[in-house]
Amino acid sequence: MSNHYIEVKNLKKYFQTPGGNLHAVDGVNFTIDKGKTIGIVGESGCGKSTTGRLMTMLLEPTEGEIFFDGKDITKLTPKEMVEYRKKIQIIFQDPFSSLNPRKTVFHSIAEPLEIHKVYATKAEKENRVYELMELVGLSDRFVNSYPHELDGGRRQRIGIARALALSPEFIVCDEPVSALDVSIQAQILNLLKKLQLQFGYTYMFITHDLSVVKHFSEEIMVMYLGQMVEKAPVKELFANPRHPYTQALLSAIPVPNLKKKKERILLQGEITSPINPRQECRFAARCSFATEQCRKEVPDITDLGGGHSVRCLRIHEI
């Protein structure tokens, strides 16, 4: 028994496809402490969103355990799960498709309160909806608007209000700002940060944008083809990235600063198929350090101390 708030052990999700098993998430381990944020970073197809969906039990894991406050939520009956659904919420990526177009702002936000029958009277429910709208910075006059009348930033605020409605403890943010404009992105990021300071939420922040998580989380896990390749406290990861993939990812970000032009590590090729992956390092095909051995065995995770771990065979040589 550990004393971590959330502990994920050997989490796996395989999807059956005509071509074979698609290893979307393949043995991921991590922990999150209460009130902290873990950033999950990776490119399309690395399994980061699937991990988010597994954490909220929107998908059932193929294997593995998710301990939430000491209890394994993958073993709960649907009835027991209802209680946990209140505590675990998710904010989706696309505020354009995650809202019901036929529901007004009021009904969208009130929906979770109605499903869980939180309030006995209508007045109490209405109060809570207005309170939530104020919390996320939506003005009262939008209460009867439909999603199509609102811009992306405001729609995302509805998504956030819905997630907050039941006073959750843990929130999965699945690329909450990537569909938004830069100036709106910053508004939403600030809002999420403010809410965390105010209510002590624990976040899992999924993104492809390293500069966003750097601003946001205490710890970062980099994923590649369903596996964790590197995990470290945020400062350590940026100061001392060890996995060749993390290094390439960091160097690929275009920085809006003329004085700090860095050497870029260009990766060859593109992500390989996650269907029936071979027994090798999954990054080997694109890695400039790869040797014969990398193509023969799956590397283990090396613990470098201080919470920094890396999945690379040649970690001590590179």
């Binding site: 399309s44 830069v182 910053a186 944008d209 809006p256």
Partner: protein, 332 residues
Amino acid sequence: MQKKLLEIKDLTIKFHTDDGVVEAVNKVSLTVHEGETLGIVGETGAGKTTTALGIMGLVDCPPGRIEGGKIMLDDRDILQLDEDEFRKLRGKEISMIFQDPMTALNPVFTVVDQIAEVIANHQQLGEKEAEQKAIEMLELVRIPAERAYEYPHQFSGGMKQRVVIAIALACNPRLLIADEPTTALDVTIQAQVLELMKDLKTRSKTSMILITHDLGVVSEICDQVAIMYAGEIVESGSLEDIFENPLHPYTNGLFGSIPDIDKEVEFLSPIEGLVPDPSDLPKGCKFHPRCKYAQHLCSVEEPVFQEYSPGHYAKCFVYEGKLPAKEVKKYE
């Protein structure tokens, strides 16, 4: 001084819709010199893509209409061309890379056919020769020749974007317009495509207009930058001018909104409020409802777009000396 290739003067594009007139582009003036890359930066609805479509002669009419201005390519006003003349120009002298490579290609033709089509249309070559040249173009964008006879769905996003680039470059255009060419791609693939574009730019000396919302991408590849807001250019200058000495409060706000990977901050400093509705633009300075420095004057009168140091233009009363001199903070 390099030769001017493209000069846009007071371009105004409006869309007449049932809900009113959308003023998408208002008196935009831009210049692109030979061999130079101009970055147009702005948020959704700023009018960047509409400006590009205006240059390409692709504004849907109706509802869109070019209501004023000139687009001079060398000494010709291309707005005066008829459709036949424009067709000869499009793809040959000016070509465009579209944002979404997934929808820009025709799914029922092989990639080599799609490249050969442009070449055959513009260069009076036979089928075989056009195909040969198309394969050369594919190799130029680093796609192996043996994949030429495949269909778009067999390619990944990054490779599709390379095919789109190959089509755009097939006739060696003098001006290439790239509309958010890397936005739909992953970071490592974006890096590959940017590197390719930089390489092609130095090799072929094509002039380029790069449209993007990402200031990081701009700093990689552009020589000149224009910042657009609500259909207008609010600031323009060289890359150094804009990045080291931004003048307009909106430009500063944009920089403040980006999480900087080299800095530690608790909170970002975003621009409050939202981009205005282009069918109902505010009076005076279009940015005043969101501007920290706005005064009464800003809501009644429109500032003038003028030069403050050689080549560095901005549109703001603070610099006209009409507001009590409150200094606009760099990066807020």
